[in-house]
Symmetry: C2
Subunit: 73 residues, 2 copies
DNA sequence: TATAAATGTTATTTATTATTAACATAAAGT
DNA sequence: ACTTTATGTTAATAATAAATAACATTTATA
């Protein structure tokens, strides 16, 4: 029984609360707009530092912003 | 004023509490022993999923296990 | 003190994140 | 309807995490 971990996130939701566009958030955390887009869509397993920068920019925490689920395959 | 983020971690400390060697922890999170060693020494900016796996294996949380600091340079 | 177990460290390779650029589509505003 | 503004998406490249292998050093322990 092999397990993989997937991440869901609430970036879009928190971004809306702050009225930030993807580009504004990207500027604040110093990555490209597309990178934020890809992360929101769960396309990659971002680094811990980037996760922290994003959670700070959104006045949140990593654990609040990112939800982890273990899946069997 | 440019800012960079550095990570400090308490993996070694938590590992000791559980009486895990680097290798045991590595097996549990499915990475190499050297990878755990490098992370403990702060040599790389691990992925969010790996950070989560490690914090779970040590019955802790990401925010508890990893401390972030902003530095000027 | 000799032996084994655990950790340190470095160099090279592989895998994956993130950048870049380019264009498409959607939504909002004039 | 036209024009911005925001987001979606893809392909190619660059940057870096993680794997691998090999050997050194430290710590425990027989």
């Amino acid at each position: 029984m092999n397990k993989t971990v997937k991440i869901k996130n609430r970036i879009k939701e928190f971004r809306a609360r702050h009225d930030f566009t993807q580009e504004e958030l990207a500027n604040r955390v110093e990555v490209r707009r597309e990178t934020i887009g890809h992360i929101e869509k769960g396309r990659y397993n971002l680094s811990l530092i980037l996760a922290w920068k994003i959670s700070r920019a959104l006045e949140s925490s990593i654990e609040e912003l990112f939800k982890f689920e273990e899946l069997d395959n």
